[in-house]
């Protein structure tokens, strides 16, 4: 019923309605404040979740929206992490400009990479991104004079945020800092995917052959989104450096690229919130399960991943959307929707 009434109101109204904030989104973002009140001992974990969510969001932009597969996205995360770390080690510990530096550095690397990326698809892309990730890891490993090599980068000292807020041991500053950045970049992403550019990205994902046949500038679009995504991943990496005041080779590890892919697929790619939900589940599960058995914590994650891919091809969010989109569910909740003026 909603679709017919919207169709009558004109073609823009329907699309505009899709762009509007839903109540559940507001609830979600309010819930991100809960760790301050409910689990103040877990703020460090919470900031890890926020950083990982941002990293996953950056991958969602290329994988979920433009269909560009990557198994080496940690390259940009790690590049940003080292950029922020090295800047701080050499005497500039101001966090915001440091983060900007990390974002620009990773974005620049992404821009250079994008010329190769835009020419390939599918399996070739997986191999290229994988190889590129390994290359960067080895480069960081051998350039010990710059990166500290296997010992990690020592001597990262951050100045207080905005000159006022120290990065405390409990992760209080770390969490609100990460959360605000996640939220801001989420807003940017949300804007982007609802734009004409975002529509073209979905076109590339859905049918790149047809995009050529309607004269689309697909390669330019791919280069652009890849650069944006790389910059965003770099900011996530920079955040990790700044909030933990250390950088290890792990930021560039293949495992990190694989994990972020798992997180996104688990939560649901191409849904903006998928990476966020995935990051929460993944990191909380790791925290809990590794408490029980530090060696085999990946086992339940593996089971969860298999189950999700088998039964919920759209990830957890995709599954939820299917349930909430069903006729039966719609009938159930329609009375509840009246107050929002959603019902015709």
């Amino acid at each position: 019923m909603t679709s017919t009434s919207a169709a009558l109101a004109g073609p823009h109204e329907h699309l505009r309605a899709q762009d509007r904030w839903r109540a559940i989104e507001v609830v979600f973002w309010l819930a991100t404040l809960l760790p301050f009140l409910v689990t103040p001992n877990y703020l460090s974990l919470a900031s890890q979740v926020a950083i990982t969510a941002l990293f996953a969001l950056s991958l969602d932009l290329i994988l979920g929206y433009a269909g560009i597969v990557s198994l080496g996205h940690a390259a940009f995360f790690g590049f940003g992490a080292y950029a922020a770390g090295i800047l701080s080690k050499h005497g500039w510990g101001e966090p915001l400009s440091g983060l900007l530096f990390a974002g620009i550095a990773a974005g620049l690397l992404g821009y250079l990479m994008s010329f190769i990326i835009a020419r390939f698809r599918h399996l070739a892309l997986i191999m290229i991104t994988l190889g590129f990730g390994l290359l960067l890891l080895e480069a960081a490993n051998s350039a010990g004079w710059l990166t500290g090599g296997a010992d990690g980068l020592q001597g990262v000292r951050m100045w207080p945020l905005l000159g006022m807020f120290r990065f405390d041991l409990y992760g209080f500053t770390a969490y609100w800092y990460s959360l605000i950045l996640l939220f801001l970049l989420f807003l940017v992403s949300r804007r982007l995917i609802n734009s004409p550019f975002g529509l073209s990205l979905r076109g590339i994902r859905e049918n790149s052959t047809r995009m050529r046949a309607i004269g689309a500038e697909s390669r330019a679009h791919i280069r652009k989104i890849y650069t944006i995504s790389a910059a965003m991943a770099g900011i996530a990496g920079g955040l990790l450096t700044q909030t933990t005041e250390t950088v290890s080779l792990g930021v560039l590890d293949f495992q990190r690229s694989a994990d972020i892919l798992v997180i996104l697929v688990l939560g649901g790619a191409g849904r903006l919130y998928g990476g966020l939900i995935g990051a929460i589940i993944f990191l909380v599960a790791r925290d809990q399960f590794s408490g029980i058995n530090p060696q085999y914590w990946y086992f339940p994650i593996g089971v969860l991943l298999v189950v999700v891919v088998l039964f919920l091809p759209g990830g957890i969010l995709g599954g939820l959307a299917q349930i909430t989109g069903s006729e039966r569910f719609q009938r159930m909740v329609r009375p509840l929707m009246v107050w929002r003026g959603k019902s015709p």
């Binding site: 679709s3 919207a6 169709a7 073609p11 823009h12 109204e13 329907h14 699309l15 505009r16 762009d19 804007r191 982007l192 609802n194 734009s195 004409p196 550019f197 975002g198 529509l199 073209s200 979905r202 076109g203 859905e206 049918n207 052959t209 047809r210 050529r212 046949a213 309607i214 004269g215 689309a216 500038e217 697909s218 330019a220 679009h221 652009k224």
Partner: protein, 256 residues
């Protein structure tokens, strides 16, 4: 007819050759399409009809020969550049965006044409002109009622219409339709072709079609291809009277 013949051709090919190894798929193809004409391209299976469309749109490179669009040599241009100059095709097998709605898909094509698809800071719905244009195209092809459904949920005939809608959104000068009614029930295909023939007279249309009733009713001129060569070209009356065409189609009753 004379009037049309004297106007400069919008699309023409000169001595187009293409072969895959020893298999010749196009041999010395010479075509001239004047503006506004509805051309049918017919011939038995494997005659090279789709290959010819692929050559003209740049999906395949000819071994030799030239393709001219509005007098400009476009032989060396890639497919996207040809589309931007107004040479558009549709596909024999649906090639759509399954998870986009028809309105989104056609709007996408309009935005790409207008160069707005580069903007990422403004929502799509603020582009009222692009959306209105997309909606009007869908309406003209009887797709307005389903414009907010996902493409994959559309009936097959509607998807064939969306193929054409996408092509129209690029504002074509020349429209190449590769079996637009393939797989559509006969009663619906007549409707589809009525939509095609009622397109603006500014658009030159070349369509591949196997249903001879439709071809002879709707085409103003017909090109017959056999074995990668053009056998004959002429008005429907000339073609139906041509003994060589009869010979080709003798026994090929499945197509008639």
């Amino acid at each position: 007819m004379n009037q049309i013949k004297t106007s400069a051709p919008v699309l023409s090919t000169r001595g187009l050759d293409k072969s895959f190894g020893s298999l010749v798929v196009a041999k010395d193809i010479e075509i001239e399409l004047p503006q506004g004409v509805r051309y049918a391209l017919i011939g038995p299976n494997g005659a090279g009809k789709t290959t010819l469309i692929n050559l003209m749109t740049g999906m395949l490179r000819p071994d030799s020969g030239q393709i001219l669009l509005g007098g400009e040599d476009i032989t060396a241009l890639d497919p996207e550049a040809r589309v931007r100059r107004g040479l558009i095709r549709t596909f024999q097998i649906n090639s759509l965006f399954p998870h986009l709605t028809p309105l989104e898909a056609v709007t996408l094509a309009v935005c790409e044409r207008e160069g707005i698809s580069r903007t990422w800071w403004k929502p799509v719905w603020t582009y009222h002109d692009a959306l209105d244009e997309a909606y009007d195209i869908l309406k003209s092809l009887m797709l307005a009622a389903v414009c907010h459904r996902q493409t994959r949920e559309l009936a097959y005939g509607q998807q064939r219409l969306l193929e054409i809608a996408l092509a129209l959104a690029t504002k074509p000068k020349v429209l190449l339709l590769d079996e637009p009614a393939a797989g559509v029930p006969r009663e619906e295909s007549a409707e589809l072709f009525t939509a095609i023939t009622s397109l603006s007279q500014d658009i030159t249309v070349l369509f591949i079609e196997h249903d001879m009733n439709l071809v002879f009713r709707l085409a103003s001129r017909i090109i017959v291809m056999v074995g990668g060569r053009i056998l004959v070209e002429g008005t429907p009356a000339e073609i139906s009277a041509d003994p060589r065409v009869r010979e080709v189609y003798l026994g090929g009753a499945a197509h008639v």
